[in-house]
Structures are given as structure tokens and as C-alpha cells.
Symmetry: none
Subunit: 251 residues, 2 copies
Amino acid sequence: MKSDPDIARAAALLADGSRARMLKALCNGQAITATALADEAGVSGPTASVHLAKLVEAGLVTAHREGRNRRYRLSRPEVADALEALAAIAPPLPVTSLRQSVRTDALRRSRTCYDHLAGRLGVQLMGALLDTGVLTGGDGRHHPDTAVHDRLAAYGRDQHYELSEQGAVTLRSLGVDVREPGRRPLIRYCVDWSEERHHLSGALGAAIANRLFALGWLKHGASPRVVHLTDAGESGLAEAFGRSFADVRPA
Amino acid sequence: MKSDPDIARAAALLADGSRARMLKALCNGQAITATALADEAGVSGPTASVHLAKLVEAGLVTAHREGRNRRYRLSRPEVADALEALAAIAPPLPVTSLRQSVRTDALRRSRTCYDHLAGRLGVQLMGALLDTGVLTGGDGRHHPDTAVHDRLAAYGRDQHYELSEQGAVTLRSLGVDVREPGRRPLIRYCVDWSEERHHLSGALGAAIANRLFALGWLKHGASPRVVHLTDAGESGLAEAFGRSFADVRPA
DNA sequence: GGAACACTTCGCCGCCGGGCTAAGTGTCGC
DNA sequence: GCGACACTTAGCCCGGCGGCGAAGTGTTCC
């Protein structure tokens, strides 16, 4: 038995662009550090800190220390439900400036999401990993139109994908470190906001991204999170996976 | 490729107490005049006017002239869904007056949520529909003994209810129109803010509510959105579903 | 121990948004 | 026509909130 809820206060928590971006980033169920969330929201550390404090105080997210970091996560799935419900009645986000539209385009093409790859590149790479049998499983959730239900299904520790024996060999031959790390699960996935399909995250997603940067196949762009596929990367990926990644590159 | 919706703007519209109270009053689906809404929100006429203008401009409500009055109504049911979703994550609102506490009590017992039933009645009806097999599916989150960590474990499950063949027959025998309507999905659910469990919405939720009012099993109360279960309704529901709904009635 | 790092708290500034009263527009009744 | 009524627009005040830099607290690594 609860008393009458204060909708306005709840809405006010989501009514700030920075907080909304943070919560959106948390919607995949992962626990994310304060600095990563600050970067995600595009604000300074202190500013992010007070936003996160408010979200914790309101019970929307929870925090726990981890070394000298502090990780935040959504406290319960209803928060994601509320975000979805608001998205259903929200106007499309207007693009304010040309520079921003260029950046948005670049972000859609290829970006980092926390420490792994997202955007068209992340999704196409995921497709290549599945088609070549490096990863198995997924119940076909990757390809078809992944809608709201599947996004909710992406919550928590569900791991529908697995690394095959042959896949481990393939990745190792590319120099990717496929050892199971400490706490972090090897394989996870996120639902990509621009493509609405899955991309690979987890320790393996991070390891692959790391290796591609080390090989010089990827370069960090000027804006935060923007990633560029190099000439070497385009031919390297084409050879490794037998498909073209050309449309990930800028026109 | 979708442009991401501006959640913050949508939330900002609901982040004001006056606007939230107005929308809440509109949640029964009726068209209400500007002055009545100003009264409901507890603000002056001009203030209410600019709030309503913003809601119209954002497409959450629509307005139409009627004599020298102007009536406002919710533009689509998603708006009510968003309000319920926010209520599910909102902190409790302190109760200011005795009259309000009486009304809150009545609202908890049984109320309309836009055009379907909510509150204890809505939740118990949902339970009856599931237990009798009229509806199938769900992941057990409906039932009261589901603890928080169980719910977290259930993150990945699809929350999907379906109307069974037998259920359609049962409902038709009660006179409920179970035809699939135009755009609106037949079956949806909301998380009830007072009970923290699911109640039925969607076209079927609306059809059932309509039929119960037509049968005289439910009556509208004095305050907006408050609903009373009649004597006929109590015995009718008991016969139809083999369980007592007595504790939905006022003491 | 001390430097580097991650994060929070503090203090200040600027601005957006809601509230009111007063005046303007349109509609109904006589 | 004129006044009463319903509602909107205009103009103003003010509180609150988000933003940042600087300083403070706790943790890790050498």
C-alpha cells in the first residue's frame, strides 16, 4: 500500500537532458562508472556527480564502489519502462547545429559504447561474428527488427550468445585476448540505439575493440566516442570476415 | 535508423505539478474545460491557459471549442501509459488534507486509468483472468509474492500476455467485445502504482471496463476516476471468476 | 610516503520557467 | 447594442536549477 505518487517529481528527474542521457546509457542494465556517464552526458565530472546523486537519492539508480571507481546502475526495470513510455510520447530530438549533425552521423556510423564498438560498425561486426560462427546463439535476435520487447529482454545477465571453439581460434589468430577475465562476463550484448540491433559488449567486446585499435584498424575521431575505420582496417576486416565494411566509412 | 526521441522534453512537460494534476484529471479520457482544469490544478486561469497551450503544442492533449468553453482531452492513450509508468517510479506524495486522503483511499481501491480499470480492482481482475486461463503468459511478476530480487532475475523474460481461445469465449459470454480493433493493440499491461503489480490495459482492458459499466456492475464515483463496485457487480464477478471481490468495496 | 587518479562538495553565476495581475479577443444572453 | 462570461496574450517578478572551476576526500600504485 503506497500513497499517491508525485509524478511531477519523478518526471523532473528525467526532464534534464544530461540525466536522461545517463539513464538511457544505463538502460542496457550494465553498471557504469561516473566518468563514463559524465562523458555519455557530455558534462563535466562535478556536474555529473550531482546528477547521479539526485538519481540515487530518488531511488532510480544505485551505486556501489569498485576500487577507486564508483559504478551506477538502474535500480529496477520500471525505470527503463518509464523511459520507454516517455519516448513513446516524445517529439523527435531536433538536431541543433551542423556540427552536431555531422557528429551524430559519425556516431551512427561507428562509435564506442563504454569500451566496445557500437553504431553501424558494431552491428555489422556482430553480424560477421555470427555469420562466420565465431559467436553462436542469439535466437536470431540480432538480425530482424528488434523492438521494445527485445530491448527489455536485453536486461541483466541474459547471455544468449556464446563463443565457439573455432571462434576462439579465429580471434586469437587476430591477436585478440579471449581469456575470461576476473569479474566481468566475457560476452554481453547491447541493443544499439541507432541501428536497433545487437552489438557485442562484455569483456570480449572490449578486447576486440582494443585489438582493432592496436592494429591501427580503428582510430579515435576528434569528437568523443567517434571512431573511424582506417584503410588497413577496411581491408583487414574484409579479409578476416569475408565481407565488405565499406559503408561504415564516411562518404 | 530512427532519430532518438527527446525524452527530456517529454519529461519536462510532466515535470510541473500543475500540468501533472491536469493530465491526471484527464486520464479518465473525458474532455474537460479549461476552468475545471485550472481548478483541478489549483492555479489561476491564465496560468492554466499557458500550461494547456504547452501540452497542446507538444501533442499530448487536443483542444476543441464548444460554445464559449474550450474542452481539452488526452490526444492518445500512450500519454496515460506514460503517467502510470512515472507513477511507478515516483516517490509518494505527502497527503495534505483529510478529504484528499479519503479520495486517495478510494482511488487505491478501484479507479479508471484512462479507459481501463486500475487499483486493487484492476489488479485482482487481472489475477482472476490469469488464474482462470482467460489470459496466459506473463512471468509471475503479477503475483504478490514476487520479491525484488526475483524480479531482477526475471529481467530478461518477455512480459507478454495473450488471450486464450477459451478466454475469448468466456469474455464473449459476458458480452465483452473482443474484436481486434484498428491500431490499438488488444492486450497491454500497466504496472499499477498503488499495488505494484500488473493490471490490464489496451483495447481489451477498455472493452472489459466498458462492459462492466454497461452491466451496472461498476458505477462512477463522485470524484473523477473513482469507481465503485456495485452489489450486482460483486456477485456477477464472483460467479464469473469463482472468487470474491469483496475487499475492493469500501469498508 | 607521495603522486596520480576517481569522485564529491562548495561557491558562484546565468538563465529558464512558473506565478500573478492587467489587458485583449471571442461568444453567449438580453 | 451592451454586459457577462470563458479564455488567451502580454508584461513583470522571482525562485530554482544546471553549469563550471576550485578545493576536499578517499583509493591505488610505485
